[in-house]
């Protein structure tokens, strides 16, 4: 069984991260860095909740595999869709190969 102090520690870590992400958002980090920081912090928070509160750290490989698979498939969906949007206006690359 996981000792309660682990839970409490995770709780405080989450609070601190919430404070950090809120504070940082008021600073202009330039370019895409605000988004990157915000998402990174959110991912860390997610991992904390999943690993400790949801006991993923202590679960069977199968459970971890399922959780991982969901994220992986979400990744597939996002990456392939975004690849369309990003390459909409492209002209040129592979031109020679294709003409």
């Amino acid at each position: 069984m996981i000792p309660t102090r682990v839970y409490v520690a995770v709780f405080f870590a989450l609070l601190v991260l919430t404070a950090v992400t809120t504070a940082v958002s008021f600073v202009d980090l330039g370019g895409p860095f605000n988004v990157i920081t915000a998402v990174t912090i959110a991912v860390v928070k997610m991992l904390l909740v999943a690993l400790f509160f949801m006991h993923l750290r202590y679960s069977s490989r199968l459970t971890v595999l399922f959780a991982g698979a969901a994220l992986f498939w979400l990744g597939i969906m996002i990456v392939l869709t975004v690849s369309d949007y990003l390459s909409r206006g492209w002209v040129g690359p592979f031109e020679a190969m294709l003409r």
Binding site: T18, T21, V35, A38, I41, F66, A70, L71, V82
Partner: protein, 222 residues
Amino acid sequence: MITEREAVAETPGAVAHQFDDFAQQHEASTLGMWTFLVTEIMFFGGMFLGYAIYRSAYAEVFGHASNHLDIVLGTVNTAVLIASSLTVALAVHAAQESKRRALLFFLALTVVLGLVFLGIKFTEYYHKYEENLIPGWRFQYPEGNAHHAAIFFSFYFAMTGMHALHMIIGIGMFLVLGVAAWKGRYSAVYYTPVELAGLYWHFVDIVWIFLFPLFYLLGRHS
């Protein structure tokens, strides 16, 4: 017409007829819950993808529009939700140690925190109503392209609304669990329902962990 086996299955804490033993039943239930969470991830994932596409297409307006959300209430709500995750984790812990009173206490606390979250959320919704920021119903947005701002708020309401719906379901689950816990159904031997409800609640928490920066924090720096 209930067979004896089925009758046994109705008693909580007993092994249902299709399973051989507790271990198998527990494994199946946990795996079932995780599989369900996989579907939930994909469900919210679809909306996150939509959000991401529009956010990059209309970055400017999205940034502006996000400043119309109340960052104080949003941050407080994040803290409330994280606290409720803690109380759920402690509730599961109490059940694992067969501590009935502690279990009841943490379940009650979770429900209260959940209700506080929803209360704050609906206050925010009401503000949006007053500020005419509800797309399709009352919407005025003079500062920029109103259509694009409306998309921002559409996602805001769709995603936080879907999230709130999940919270309401979760609170309902904890109320039912509370009654069962009151009757002393859960103990170190059998606490699967508490554990599963906990998994669900943590998942709902994780969704919010992403919603918060994406909606509230986006345009603060500009």
